[in-house]
Symmetry: C2
Subunit: 215 residues, 2 copies
DNA sequence: ATGGACACGTGATGC
DNA sequence: TGCATCACGTGTCCA
């Protein structure tokens, strides 16, 4: 195989041709991709053509990726290359954040599902409207617990929107979404009542022991 | 305002200068961005410089975004432009899929947390090893339910690994992860025992009614 | 007419 | 050496 450099030396006199403005203009504007058959053909031109075509393939590949990105990106208004990249970056960051949140939310929920080892009682406003209150409590599972909680709630004329409960190892965790308080004094009364409920010792030979599923 | 075309005609003799290889080389390698003050200055060169600098800013913007992508993409081995785009596409698709899965999973979990309106009892092998069995049941909440379930479990010498419970509107949903069966006959016995438990009518003036939180 | 966006060919660099 | 990638300036089209 003969090298391009050697060939270049042999055809050096012709260099003036392909360095001329005419040739350059021709190649730059509308490159002839067919192999020329006349006497002006030489191997350096072939190398340049190979080079430009390789570059063209590279551009094609990259532009293909841009096209792909344009299809998979939602909310893409400007299809500009820079805009595509910008929107891509925004999307990736947003998605990463969302995934992180959803995963930790799942983990938190999972964590939240297990009762605390020590008795726990928390009341907090869930959000502003309607006086919604979220109550979270952990205590030993024992007979009459649910009815005691129910009585505590009705003592403040509260309505329960949602209840979630989990029992593990003889202990219980309960989340209540409550509404209908008459002012803040209701919360105080409810808190005292619930506190008594969860701290009330279970009877000897207690029910809680009996329903402990774990050996 | 004088047009660039007109200016070009006036300074045509100088075209040979900025089209020369020397100038071209100089500009390509280390372009002088300061406005030249000598006699070689002319407006077409200014226009070309403006154009090239605008193009340079565009490249800079795009390359900056590539750099950003390189920083936020995990598992990026080749920092190649095409590779960056490829990895980006893969990441976006993967993240979108993950988000979708996590959201539907959350929805499914949420659905699963609410007790069924009709009594329900399902036993299924959770996975192959250790004879793990998942039991799902929905029934009316009533006094002694948990202890009844506990007794049913101990009757087949089963150990509970995990319990999840939800109570809504006086009904209860319970998921048990159980192990320790002696063969399949244990499952049959357990299923019968649980069936009796969940179908057992609550006593008159029942406990279940009392603990119904909803008005 | 002016700036933005794009494709192109080319020289340079690294493996 | 050849091959791939990159930055650059330029010509061209469009709003």
């Amino acid at each position: 195989m003969i090298s391009l450099q050697q060939l270049e030396k042999e055809v050096k006199p012709i260099q003036t041709y392909y360095k001329s403005a005419t040739y350059s203009k021709q190649v730059v504007s509308y490159p002839e991709r067919d192999i020329p058959t006349d006497a002006t053909f030489h191997y350096k031109e072939l190398a340049a053509k190979k080079h430009s075509e390789a570059e063209r393939r590279r551009r094609l590949r990259i532009n293909g990726q841009y096209a792909t990105l344009r299809t998979i990106l939602p909310n893409l208004v400007k299809t500009d290359k820079a805009s595509v990249l910008e929107e891509t970056i925004k999307s990736v960051r947003e998605l990463q954040k969302t995934v992180k949140e959803l995963k930790t939310e799942g983990r938190d929920r999972h964590k939240c599902e297990f009762p605390n080892e020590v008795n726990e009682l928390n009341l907090s406003y869930s959000n502003g409207d309607g006086g919604l209150v979220k109550a979270t409590l952990s205590c030993e599972d024992k007979p009459g617990l649910l009815s005691d909680i129910g009585r505590a709630l009705s003592s403040v004329k509260a309505t329960v929107l949602k209840v979630e409960m989990a029992t593990v190892g003889g202990r219980i965790k309960c989340e209540l979404l409550i509404q209908g308080f008459k002012g803040n004094e209701g919360m105080v009364i409810l808190k005292r009542a619930l506190k008594i409920v969860i701290d009330k010792p279970s009877l000897p030979g207690n029910y809680g022991k009996k329903i402990c599923f774990y050996k």
